[in-house]
Amino acid sequence: MRKVAVAGIGFTKVGEPWERNVKELFAEAALGALKDAAHTEVEHLYVANMMGAHLQGQIGMGAMMAEAIGRPGLPAVRIEAGQASGGVAFHEGVKAVASGMSDWVLVGGVEKMSDLLPEAVATALVGAEDQEYTAYTGVTKTGLSAILHRLYSHEYGASPEEIGWFAARSHDNAVGVTHAQYPFKLSIERVMTSPMEADPIRMMECAAVADGAAAVLLGPADKVANGIEVAASTVATDHLSLAARKNPLTLIAVKKAADKAYEIAKTKPKDIDVLEVTDDTTIDGVLSLEDLGFAEKGKGAKMVAQGHTTRTGEIPTNNFGGLKARGNPIGATGLYQIAETVMQLRGEAGANQVPDAKIGMAQSMAGVGSTCSVAILRRV
């Protein structure tokens, strides 16, 4: 297998740009990645998208986006792995380059959620669950996280406020971030007094509806000058339904993907300088921190509340606001995480820079952990 590097990154500002369609969003990010890499050759295109079929009635996004970036004819395919589509598409791109089958692979993700009303978006999001026995109960993605939230408090004695801190910490890091959906602070008081969304999860603990696109250009490490090396890229899955999991508070897919990534990259959690995790809700972020190996089981919420995940803490996490504040345009999210990790490792994160960041990790997760991808990137 060849070593793979990230040659360029691009993304749009996350928001609700009603005047722009999926093609325009995707093209901005993809062309941005090519420009950043100062490279024009592309041999293969992967398009990460979860909900186009629900939200725009659109599939076939491979051909559509190849054309949208001015390259009709390019081999192209859409990758869907629920909310982990972005991270999984990245993994597919890495495989294509590592195998030697392609040299230059563009991986872009896009989601446009603002086209539909909230109940339709909730239906699309719960599309990644078993339709006949999970979605059938009327539960939402947030509701499934809420079931874990209550179980977590019950098992480990964490207070709702300790868990709620995850949202406040993410917002702290979004201040001044030009591509963030909500680039402002959110106090823990405001989090904890916001209305219930799915008890015990409050509205300000959840990522909101967002539109956005992000892309990376991958190439062979020996042909990319000043590239950021992909030290590991892994994917794992778990039982789709929470009910089928013996211990729902351990996200097996996260653990498996992380353990394998550490092994491949010959690193340990203590070697990671910057981290991007999936905080679609606060508890998703807490459980991810634990199962990625950064906190003991049951101690993750306390760790966040006490400030150990801030820019100057033990493990700087969600350094541009995470899903909560940078925003969560689902299919693009995993690629925003990669792009942001690259910015940190290049030393181009401006006011958000974690000093001398050498190794970064990005974790993309579907639902409540049915699919998880982990990437470890390294400055060489």
């Binding site: 109960t137 209550r150 799915a198 929470l242």
Partner: protein
Amino acid sequence: MSVPRYWREEKPRYRLMGEECAKCGAKYYPKTPVCACGSTEFKPYKLAEMGKLKSWTVIRNAPVGYERFTPYVVALIELDDGVQILSQVVDVEPEAVKVGMKVEYAFRKVTEDGQAGLLQYGYKFRPVVD
């Protein structure tokens, strides 16, 4: 929702019918083509109708088709035979729901598929009244 899609899940949903692996005895609800032990031989298995709540949430912003039921409780339930199931819990105010609460199977309308669509029935759970 097509009629066959509804019909083929009728037995599991109306009667809590799952399957049990003929080799290792693992119980599945819903049924699965291949057991974790590798076996593809299964026997019908009727789930316990009583259980207790492991955790729950209150859905306040519902997906399409469930809007008029809000707020409603969805719980992770451990049945008396050890099988876990996700289900709505009805006949109780959300404020009165507790971890460990005993619940039993109830047959109810679950959703309406559009104005002129299919009425879907199936399992919900309700508190056991002593």
